[in-house]
């Protein structure tokens, strides 16, 4: 119980943000009106995605400096969780766009940038699948992870900011100072971000544990059948 307190906190924060997001008052702005509540769900997905990819990057760097396969499995599972959050972010964005901009996909630079980011990390998964040797797979995919993060993520975030975009607050920061977030929104928004990040870390660590349990089972079977 002592080691899982953060999981409970994560669940509670997400639950609070869901309830509070629907019930609490929000400021009325032109065009978005009540749909500004989607902010509580759409933006935390992106924060989570970037955070997961960053942790994946850290584990890839750790693997390259000290080749233990544990680091590699953590890197890949955090990347996979990041992909899921990215997909969720795109879907929530499409739902939100449908009501404010009129159609789900507008060719907006940020949408395109988000789609390309997902393609980068899906390419990472495909690269891993085509390398049979585990050490080589870990090394080459670690290199690609570092390359992808350091060259793509800044580009995907910088290019949309330079071009005119339909996203609110383009030309400013991607998340904050968007709507003059008054304190009511911040009260739900920040806990939502923290809650989703904690949930994402929980899912990724679960997957890592499942993977290592699978490896142990395979090893035991192999020893038995020798």
């Amino acid at each position: 119980m002592k080691k899982s307190w953060w999981k409970i906190v994560g669940v509670m924060l997400v639950g609070y943000s869901m309830v509070g997001g629907i019930i609490f008052e929000v400021p009325r702005l032109a065009i978005v009106n009540e749909t500004i509540r989607a902010l509580y769900f759409h933006v935390p997905m992106w924060f989570c995605m970037v955070f997961m990819f960053f942790i994946s990057l850290v584990y890839s760097i750790k693997y390259l400096r000290n080749p233990t396969l544990n680091f590699d499995s953590k890197a890949v599972e955090f990347a996979n969780t990041g992909i899921i959050f990215g997909l969720l972010g795109i879907v929530t964005g499409m739902i939100w766009a449908n009501y404010t901009w009129g159609s789900p996909w507008h060719g907006d630079p940020k949408q395109n940038g988000a789609a390309i980011t997902l393609l980068v990390y899906l390419a990472y998964s495909i690269l891993r699948q085509s390398l049979p040797n585990p050490d080589q797979r870990a090394r080459l995919s670690g290199v690609y992870n570092i390359f992808a993060f350091t060259t793509m993520i800044p580009m995907i975030f910088i290019i949309p900011r330079l071009s005119s975009s339909m996203h609110p607050g383009s030309g400013g920061n991607p998340g904050f100072n968007m709507y003059d977030l008054d304190y009511q929104m911040r009260m739900v928004f920040y806990p939502a971000v923290i809650g989703w990040i904690l949930l994402g870390i929980w899912v990724a660590t679960l997957r890592v544990r499942i993977k290592s349990a699978d490896m142990k089972i395979i090893n035991i079977e192999y020893e038995k059948n020798r």
């Binding site: 390259l64 390309i116 980011t117 393609l119 980068v120 390419a123 495909i126 690269l127 085509s130 390398l131 049979p132 080589q136 090394r139 080459l140 670690g142 290199v143 690609y144 570092i146 390359f147 992808a148 350091t150 060259t151 793509m152 800044p154 580009m155 995907i156 910088i158 290019i159 330079l162």
Partner: protein, 220 residues
């Protein structure tokens, strides 16, 4: 530094004596230009100008990607180990990047001449366009060299190469298309400063990442 130059000369000499890659890619480029001409030749000039940019960059991209990925996939195993014992990884990757840059620039200039002569030529600012070709050639060479090094170790390397390279070239080509549009519209060079700076930044970023990461790929 001298080693990088020697390695580069090695690649260049191999290519000049055995003209397989450059000849086949120039032929490929001519074929693509011909296809573009047949598809669009009968349209009035104003309509061609609107799609010229897209066709040019698609053609250039396919030829450049092919030419640069061949640089690693044509390495034979013995040569790789021999080189590993003599020079460090940094020198290898720099020589390949420089060689890829020059080949890609050559192919781009030839492509531009072909496009301008066969289809109409809407470019008004040649200096800016040439600068764009240089920046894009270098960017493609730097990013694709390290990706082809990764992809050459996999089983079905051509597909993997296409999958890995697509997102990286997207950001480069996006800026290039923007600058081309400014060239066609006849805007002053200062209107494209943002994109030029961004392309240079991408080039510097990719070069430094390649420099740091290549030794790890090369170990096997």
């Amino acid at each position: 530094m001298r080693r990088i130059w020697k390695l580069f000369l090695l690649e260049l000499l191999l290519e000049i004596r055995n003209k397989s890659i450059i000849a086949s890619l120039l032929l490929f480029q001519v074929c693509l230009v011909m296809i573009n001409y047949f598809a669009l030749g009968m349209l009035p000039e104003s309509k061609i100008a609107s799609v010229w940019s897209a066709l040019f960059w698609i053609t250039l991209l396919s030829v450049s990607v092919n030419v640069i990925t061949k640089s690693f996939s044509s390495e034979r195993l013995g040569r790789g180990i021999y080189l590993y014992s003599i020079v460090s990884g940094v020198e290898v990757i720099f020589s390949k990047i420089i060689y890829g840059f020059l080949i890609s620039l050559f192919v781009s200039v030839v492509g531009f001449i072909l496009f301008a002569s066969i289809l109409s030529n809407p470019i008004q600012d040649y200096k800016l366009f040439l600068l764009t070709l240089c920046l894009v050639s270098y960017g493609l060479s730097a990013s694709l060299s390290i990706l082809s090094a990764i992809a050459s170790k996999t089983k079905n390397s051509n597909v993997i190469m296409a999958v890995l390279s697509f997102p990286v070239v997207i950001s480069i080509i996006l800026e290039a298309i923007q600058i081309t549009k400014n060239c066609i519209d006849g805007l002053d060079m200062s209107a494209s400063y943002d994109e030029i700076i961004l392309l240079s930044a991408i080039n510097i970023l990719v070069t430094s990442v390649s420099y740091l990461l290549f030794p790890y790929i090369w170990r096997s």
